[in-house]
Assembly symmetry: C2
Homo-oligomer: 341 residues x 2
Amino acid sequence: MTTDLILLAHGSGGKLSHDLVQRLFVRHFSNPALLPLDDSAVLEIAGPAGMRLAFTTDSYVVSPLFFPGGDIGKLAVCGTVNDLSMSGARPLWLSAGFIIEEGLPFADLEQIVASMADTARQAGVQVVTGDTKVVDRGSADRLFINTAGVGVIAPGVQIGGQRARPGDAVLVSGTLGDHGMTILTQREGLTFDSPLQSDCAPLNGLVASLLAAVGPGHVHVLRDPTRGGLATTLNEIASASQAGIEIDETSLPVREAVRAACELLGLDPLYVANEGKLVAIVEQSVVSQALAALQRDPLGAEAALIGHVSDRHPGRLVLHTALGARRVVDMLAGEQLPRIC
Amino acid sequence: MTTDLILLAHGSGGKLSHDLVQRLFVRHFSNPALLPLDDSAVLEIAGPAGMRLAFTTDSYVVSPLFFPGGDIGKLAVCGTVNDLSMSGARPLWLSAGFIIEEGLPFADLEQIVASMADTARQAGVQVVTGDTKVVDRGSADRLFINTAGVGVIAPGVQIGGQRARPGDAVLVSGTLGDHGMTILTQREGLTFDSPLQSDCAPLNGLVASLLAAVGPGHVHVLRDPTRGGLATTLNEIASASQAGIEIDETSLPVREAVRAACELLGLDPLYVANEGKLVAIVEQSVVSQALAALQRDPLGAEAALIGHVSDRHPGRLVLHTALGARRVVDMLAGEQLPRIC
């Protein structure tokens, strides 16, 4: 590493996070299931009872614990359900590991656990195993939650960041930046005329609808643009597939309140976290069915075609701006919004 | 709950932990896979490709991060490998979620990750998916790690706390209290003539040897006596099976240095955490083969028969003391040793 200490930016989901993953985790843990670095590992169980499982984990350290549109518990279920869904898996089971700072009000914990249970029911998954650790005051900030998840991948599904191909269409399931700007404005105590609300939602139903509508073989990549936002996610896909991705600024759906908050705070919605949106890269031939399938679901009502995969500038994300310019958009550098999820 | 705030003892693995699990997690998350409250959830995948998976999670918050015999990374791999093994599963895949306090030296993190990778190789498992979060200084204590794990349970294996039956033999795979007393004496800065060392080790090989030697159907319960120690583990089994468990104080293997440290600090080795030991409850007819199988493995060299399951005092653990008395031993009350794992 170029630095001797771990910095906040190592957890940003952006460039330093990727460096850490490559130089530390990939080097030490290297194995075929880890290497694609997709949202979930895909695991083959061999033999007559063979099948493919998806397995993923995320820790949640969001501050504050409660925010408009959700709380850390809802986030912890949605995030892991969504990571499983992005491999095309049907999410089935979650684990829940709680790290609690001594002194957390029991009522807060109960509200969060109830929220996890509600969200799990909504997503049709079960929390089947768990763990609780309590640390002394000052050794954690109220509550951290880890969830891991297991799902089953149906035959015919082949989804992964490396599968984007020139000609494919790039869709996004709705407006960008709602979650990140909600957390940030809560933390800063800012209020706006039209209040912001996190988009935090389980996307497994939306993915199932999409796969059913266009056939699983025509969906090449699914990814939820969380930490680092859409720009980082599309950079990851461009890098994994060694294809170029071109998007049109005017086609990007952004809520007016989010746009205003971003302008006020000097942030770019392209880099702001989402917790209830997905990027789908599908074959050009199915783009209208795909868009229609997404838009039929309330969670995809504002889905949009935002660009395409190209054979120019492999590994790069290029934005066609509203003014007709084009610029290369890199993944997030530094840490824009710590503890957003 | 009888209290309005979460206390350290809620994370002890003892009585308050069990209250929290029952009154909060079981109530909100209730489902058939969660309810046995064994070390792993056992998940049935139906259909022609049906199989049974084990799934478990633990967070590790041990302080200090490095200790004689291991570090938080080794512990995080062993703990989850062992929880899977205690369901009779063959552990296959782990996730790793890191919550890092800003400012942790990169070299410390690398040493811990390398230790995880070494231990995973030793146990024959792969770390296939992960996540890193970084929180600001003061919001965590250096490093917490969550691991979740997935394994496959072979046909014929039926292991669970509720399966202890009167007449069964109770075995322990080696000396008690080594891990907990190592951490505690490190933290207190105590030194002894014969230095203490954590027993932290992956037990999947030992379990495989045991199952192969006596046949999977004859092993009724496996459990690793971690937080809360042997007394808490045997209480859990007695409670789950509604059988009584009787153990002989004189048969309990305890290293002299651990005994001395416990006496000095006023602790009972029955309640001190182990990280490389298992309790096996097997049919009486296979006890000598079981003991021999354990003792053939270096990790079970000091295995001992310590008691039996009884039809008296159902749900209770009874200790026959060295002086010929008998006393009921309850699960750990309060918090003896915070942040031991």
